[in-house]
């Protein structure tokens, strides 16, 4: 399995979980479907970016750092668009980025030499 694909799958799965936990916030429960979709897309975008990064650069610490930055940035964007819940969105988003960064560096088929 390629690294970008791992990134996409993991990003999507964690994005879905992320989105579903919004159910525990009654204020946004009505918008759950949209939140899940948005969260999943955010996870996929993060996964693609981090996965392609891992395909090119083989360094676990740098891959994790990149994942953290991408995850945090995308989460910040979402929170900014929401106009709130910065802590509740950025913290898990950052952690998802960390997880995807780790997984794409550790697993998946490495890039082949041209």
């Amino acid at each position: 399995m390629s690294k970008p694909l791992i990134g996409v799958i993991l990003g999507a799965v964690l994005g879905v979980i992320d989105g579903l936990t919004a159910w525990f916030t009654p204020a946004v429960r009505n918008e759950l479907f949209g939140i899940v979709i948005g969260s999943t897309i955010k996870g996929i975008i993060a996964g693609i970016a981090i996965g392609f990064f891992a395909k090119k650069f083989h360094s676990l610490p740098i891959g994790i750092l990149f994942g953290v930055l991408v995850g945090a940035f995308l989460a910040w964007l979402v929170a900014f668009m929401q106009g709130g819940y910065y802590f509740e969105i950025i913290l898990p988003g950052t952690l998802v980025g960390l997880i995807v960064g780790f997984a794409t560096q550790k697993y998946g088929t490495p890039v082949e030499a041209n």
Binding site: L14, I17, D18, T21, F24, T25, E88, L91, P92, L95, V96, L98, I99, F102, A103, K106
Partner: protein
């Protein structure tokens, strides 16, 4: 004729059995050890100015044909060029008719000594893999060792692994073969705790690579023996290698080496059928960090849910 006291008798015995290198390019330094087949001496190669280990077989070649055959087979074994097989530099005859081999002098410790020094399970398994690779190479060239045991495996000062003592090796499919002894059926060759059942029965003419597989299994068993946490999988690998019926053992040393590699990488092995729980446990064990990260994420999520409610 005068009475020979015990002391004089022992001196004569050692005089008769000691090495005498006058007809060779070697100078005796000291005796390294003695075994059933012969003694090993440290000697100096005067031409190349280096130390070598010389193994001298106890008894002389009784006929010119047997002596030449010993040398021919030693040459075949000397042709096994592999980092895990101790190189044979020279083979010849002493002035008294005894055959000798000059080998690389390996500075280091035997595998049993290495294990006694407290090597970790992982390190032991890595060394064992190297032994399997060397033996697999020999098998691929038609040579069966027949006396594999921890005492015949050296760990060099750079951590390299060398298999020694090919003196009773058999060249497969050569009915006249024996590097040292003409071992027809009925003669037991090898070391008791490490020899396969077919070897113990003296079935030398039917021996194949699987006799060495059995011995490798016994070596693995030895390495696992004093370890506190040995998994069922590791024991299963040893058990498969040491199956009484040779058809049930690994077919090649490479297969055994591959299973060890899979064990070290927390992958499923051919010798052990996992149940679902064991498979999940193994996967979790192998991907511990990822699992911890995901758990941390979920815990964080639960924490946030509770804090947002309150």
């Amino acid at each position: 004729m005068r009475w020979l006291s015990d002391d004089k008798l022992n001196r004569l015995r050692s005089v008769v059995s000691e090495a005498e290198f006058s007809a060779t390019k070697y100078t005796f330094v000291k005796e390294l050890g003695r075994g059933g087949m012969g003694a090993v001496y440290l000697a100096e190669d005067r031409e190349l100015d280096r130390l070598v280990a010389i193994k001298i077989l106890n008894t002389p070649a009784l006929t010119e044909d047997l002596g030449n055959r010993m040398i021919r087979e030693a040459q075949i074994i000397a042709g096994l060029e592999h980092p895990g097989i101790v190189p044979v530099h020279d083979v010849g005859t002493l002035a008294d008719g005894r055959i000798f081999y000059a080998m690389k002098y390996v500075r280091g410790s035997r595998l049993d000594e290495y294990a006694a020094q407290g090597a970790s399970l992982r390190d032991r398994l890595r060394k064992f893999q190297s032994v399997c690779d060397a033996v697999a190479f020999a098998h691929a060239h038609g040579v069966i060792h027949r006396d594999l045991k921890p005492q015949n495996i050296m760990i060099g000062s750079f951590g390299e692994v060398l298999v020694l003592d090919w003196g009773v090796a058999k060249i497969r499919d050569d009915p006249r073969s024996s590097a040292v002894y003409q071992t027809g059926d009925g003669t037991v060759i090898g070391t008791r705790n490490y020899m396969s059942p077919e070897q113990a029965r003296g079935e030398n003419d039917q021996l194949d690579e699987r006799a060495d597989i059995y011995s490798l299994g016994a070596v693995l068993s030895f390495l696992l023996n004093d370890q506190p946490k040995v998994s069922k999988v590791a024991n299963a690998i040893a058990a498969k290698a040491m199956a009484s019926a040779k058809e049930s053992r690994y077919t090649t040393a490479s297969e055994l080496s591959s299973d060890i590699a899979r064990l070290l990488d927390a992958e499923p092995v051919s010798a052990y059928r996992e149940n679902a729980f064991e498979r999940v446990s193994r996967w979790v064990g192998k991907n511990r960090f990822l699992v911890l990260l995901v758990l941390a994420y979920l815990l964080m999520r639960i924490f946030l849910i509770f804090t947002s409610r309150s």
